[in-house]
Symmetry: C2
Subunit: 358 residues, 2 copies
Amino acid sequence: MLKNEITKLLGLDYPIIQAPMAGGITTSKFVAIVSNNGALGMIGAGYLSAHELRQQIREVKQLTANNFGVNLFVPNDFQIKEDEVEMMNKLLNHYHGELNIPVEKVILPIVENVFHSYMEQIQVVIEENVPICSFTFGIPTVEVMGKLKHYNVITIGTATTVTEAVAIEKIEMDAVVVQGSEAGGHRSNFLSDHEESLIGLMTLIPQVVDNVSIPVIAAGGIMDGRGLMAALCLGSKAVQMGTAFLTCEESGAHQVHKESILHSKQDDTKLTRAFSGRWARGMKNKFIEEMQNHEASIPGFPVQNVLTQSIRKASANQNNKQYMSLWSGQNSTLARIETVERLIQRVIEQANRIYQNV
Amino acid sequence: MLKNEITKLLGLDYPIIQAPMAGGITTSKFVAIVSNNGALGMIGAGYLSAHELRQQIREVKQLTANNFGVNLFVPNDFQIKEDEVEMMNKLLNHYHGELNIPVEKVILPIVENVFHSYMEQIQVVIEENVPICSFTFGIPTVEVMGKLKHYNVITIGTATTVTEAVAIEKIEMDAVVVQGSEAGGHRSNFLSDHEESLIGLMTLIPQVVDNVSIPVIAAGGIMDGRGLMAALCLGSKAVQMGTAFLTCEESGAHQVHKESILHSKQDDTKLTRAFSGRWARGMKNKFIEEMQNHEASIPGFPVQNVLTQSIRKASANQNNKQYMSLWSGQNSTLARIETVERLIQRVIEQANRIYQNV
């Protein structure tokens, strides 16, 4: 029942993919442990330089002989509006004060460099023979796709709507992750606007399944065997789980991040652009609540991400959850602290139990 | 597999409830046909007077010997701000012009009357021995609950969050409908605010199931056997389907309403307060789009509902979909025109097929 075309394509024991959470969560050890336990470990490489990525790929290869993957952010054009940045910096200075850190001159991102860095990442994926590469925030160009296919890299896109899933199939990717409105972290919408991309998995999965022929992987709030079985019933062939893996003992997530999820009493997440300029779902804190009043003046991604970097970093160093991006899906109350092995076994055992009893 | 405590409690062949869509959709014939086919027919009585409700209950009883239910809106206190109403009327006059209808003096609702009318509805439910009564927009008082229990009326609440579901269990209702963010029509949140009540079923069902012991009924975007099976896997015991029943041949929905759903190419719904003052999900049209710019100045429910009544009515009479409330869930592309009997059989057959093949 849990073996299908996607487990075959990706070489997995179980139809479970660990979501490629960027920003230090997916350490080499963590990714390898996931792969060693029959699921797919993924390096969240969005913020890594080509050099760092190559390093990490080599580490993962040392730790597992199984398949693993890399996730890249597809860059989008952006503009820097100086007055917008100046206004935001003034606003953020207040938080530098709260955290007792100096206000330093921030080096703003440059469009050409971002695109260049992405092309270098693609090159590393090819040179290091990474078996699987997934993408968020957009789709690669026909040229990049041609290159990846030439080197037999299995490609996976990320869609939030039927329109985006169809675009991913059209460019001949091998599978599509559908990200429901329940998902934690960054929204991956790239053709649909934010509001229209907020579709629950209960309706997103069947609509996408009916409109594409490539296998569909469900992402968003899936935490246990109930979610896995539901996703399979709706027509997807596998699930991608983020929050559930994030709180695992081996994950590289900050302890404060893990605890804020583990101690949540009910869905306490909120969609915000405050941290990066792109909509993302995370646990409510002071920064999200206060920045809500300035939503219209938040610069886009990746500008805002660079502007808030020192605040997020200092907040983490000080174990202060109020200014950290505590990404989480809407199912935070179901999170547990346990080993990766236990999580995967628990999900599979529960799925089998449901199958026999539903 | 499809028989459980909820089918037993409600006396059903199948774990399917027809959502109580108010405003003329749930005609007596339609409700009776649903009940005669093994699911639960529900009268959407929110806008009915006690007299109209009694009439309809008696009609339904003539047409079916099976169980059926009534859904009531729990009234909430509201205020009428004269300047707000005046401003809105000015704005709405424009639409009277577009539709060539006279601007008439609107009789505004009075809080006491709304509460009185609700108590009369409760009395009718009791006097007519209605077997099942469900509630949206809130929970009945302890007094009302005591009365309903005394007369053995089975009660069902509607929750959008864990907090609301727990409150429904605490007041000793027999079951709880959980309304996911995917759902069409009015949001039923009453303790949680609009934004925090937008939780996808994939995460809402398991979290509620883990926090209450009464049976959970899933509502929101469920259109076929895939949705039914997914909802059962997540731990709910039945589903409540609105949009799927709305487009059935026998439903009393306006033809223009049915067609706007049947011809949708992908999720084309939007959350709006424009029609009634309460957030609700419906197919995008001119009225929703244009009123979006005036969101902050829309009076609350039921004031706005009264103010827009003549516009909605004229738009429907003129077969003009631009000013009608075309409520729909996020799964509109899966809607079909078919008989109620065929819909129910199709859902059950598909659920059984999935169970054997997943």
